[in-house]
Structure formats: structure tokens, C-alpha cells
């Protein structure tokens, strides 16, 4: 095909090519899967937030405190007046619970490990806000 012969001819390589080759490094090829993996991870996080179901659904601090104490032996005082609304709690595994608020969860474990202890429980969260209310 004449049109291909006329338009697909050889071209001159840019001068910068030698500098790049002289650098001696191959270009870093991005994985095709990386964007998909990131999208999937983001979707999983979003879905986890949407479908998070506490074992106990309640906004009553006294009820949640009693429920946690009965199942784990941890006495976690929960403030009766909070800026963030309490929504419930659940036992993640033996000796580890999550207190759920509308904005997120606070992970609490029995006070036999390392870290700051408050009576029978310790906070595993690193957020200052969690420590502030659960100390």
C-alpha cells in the first residue's frame, strides 16, 4: 500500500535518547493490575464502611458498657454525652472488642498487653481522639 510506504517511514531519533540510554536504567513499567488492585481495595474499604454491622445496636452508653462487660470482662466507661453518636459494639475475637460510633470504631482489648491501660482495658487505636474519650 503506497499510503503506508509514504507515511510510515523512518524518523530521526531525538537527541535525548542517548542521554537516557547512557543513564543505564530501563524504564519502570507500571503494572496493568495496580490501578485495578487499588480500585478494588478502595471499593472494599467503602463497602466495609457501608455494611459494617455491630453485634449490639444501641446508642445507650450504659447498655453498651454492660454488654461489653458481660462478654469480655472489660469495664469500659462510655461517656453519656458525646459529640459523636454511639451506635453499638461487637466482639472481634476473644478479649478484643470494637465500640462503634457513627464516624468509626474504637478498638479495645483486655489490659494484659503492652500499652496504656485504663483499668481492665487498653486502647489499640492510635488516634488521639479515641484516647481522649476512652482514658
Amino acid at each position: 500500500m503506497e499510503i503506508l510506504e509514504r507515511n510510515l517511514g523512518r524518523v530521526e531519533a531525538p537527541a535525548e535518547l542517548w542521554d537516557r540510554v547512557n543513564g543505564g536504567r530501563e524504564t519502570r513499567r507500571r503494572s496493568v493490575w495496580l490501578p485495578w488492585a487499588l480500585a478494588l481495595a478502595s471499593a472494599s474499604v467503602a463497602m466495609a464502611g457501608i455494611f459494617y454491622k455491630p453485634a449490639l445496636r444501641s446508642d445507650d452508653p450504659a447498655l453498651v458498657r454492660e454488654w461489653v462487660k458481660a462478654r469480655t470482662g472489660m469495664d469500659v466507661p462510655l461517656a453519656t454525652q458525646h459529640v459523636v453518636r454511639l451506635t453499638g459494639a461487637r466482639v472481634v475475637k476473644t478479649g478484643r472488642i470494637e465500640i462503634a460510633y457513627k464516624s468509626g470504631v474504637v478498638l479495645i482489648s483486655k489490659a494484659d498487653g503492652a500499652g496504656a491501660h485504663w483499668g481492665t482495658y487498653a486502647i489499640e487505636c492510635e488516634k488521639p481522639a479515641c484516647v481522649l474519650c476512652h482514658s
Binding site: M1, I3, L4, E5, N7, L8, G9, R10, V11, E12, A13, P14, E16, L17, W18, R20, V21, G24, R25, E26, T27, R29, R30, V32
Partner: protein, 179 residues
Amino acid sequence: MVLDGNDREVISACQRGDRDAFRALFETYQDRVYSIALRYSGDRAQALDIAQDVFVKLLKNIGDFRGESGFETWLYRMVVNRCLDDKRSARRWIGLVEGFFTRPVEPSALNNVLRSEVQARVQHAVALLPPEQRVIVVLRYTEGLSYAEIAEIAGCSEGTVASRLNRAHKFLERRLKRI
């Protein structure tokens, strides 16, 4: 230092780590490698990446060249493999779309403008071919290689080269019939 085809002396010097010899080899083949990469990818930045990788790999692996096939065939095979290995289709498409809408315009002459436009359309049509057909079209029309040479580089029979080229021609004729 002038390299003439399969100049064993220069290649041997490269194999001994002679940087000047490698520079001579680079000077001789840079336009061919870059042209194949550009015509295959349709994107300047991607073509530069491909050409860079090919020469870096060439420098690293030139000791493996035993002269069983011609040096050019060996090098072309490296370029073709790198082209086919390129999975950054998104970037290629972005490049094509950009190229299509921002065609280089030379105000000096209408002929130049028209030529650029036709070239962009041809490049765009070629980019729509499946990689195995595209690479054969590029070797045929950019490098002017014979079916036998293309078959040796692509690692397939001459019959396969002919049938892929035939399918590519039919597709391109349909796409470019209005030009």
C-alpha cells in the same frame, strides 16, 4: 567509527565493554529502533521508553550475541519483543487522542498541513490494528523488510506473515479509503 551491517569488530568491542563501540552501534541503529517504536506505539514518549529499554538491554545482553543470526535480526527481535510486551495501552490511547486533536501544523505551506493530517490518520489507523499485525506492518513499511526477514524476527512462518499483512491491508484500506 563506522559500522557496516554485521560488523563483527564493533560488536566484539561492545562485548568487551568498549563504550565507544557501543556509542557507534547506538548511532547506527538509533533511528531504526526509535522509528519502529514510534510507528508501533504512535506516541513519542512511549517510543522513547521502548528505544531506551532496547538499548539498555542491548548493552547488558550483547555478550549473549553469538552470531547465529544476523545482528540486525537479533536487535529487531529485541525491539519487537519490547513493543509487544508493552501493556501501557491507556497511555498509548491518550497519546493517540492527543495526537489526533493536536496535529502538528506548519503554517508555511498547505501541503505540509495536509501531509501531517494524512500521516496522523494513517498512524491512528495503524494503532487500531492488533499488536501482532501492527508489528508486521511496521517492519514491512518502516523498515522495508522482506517476508522472510519479518518471519525470522517475529518467529513465525512466511505464510503467517503474509496472512497477517493481508488482514492488516484489508482493515487499513477500509479505514483509509477516504484519504
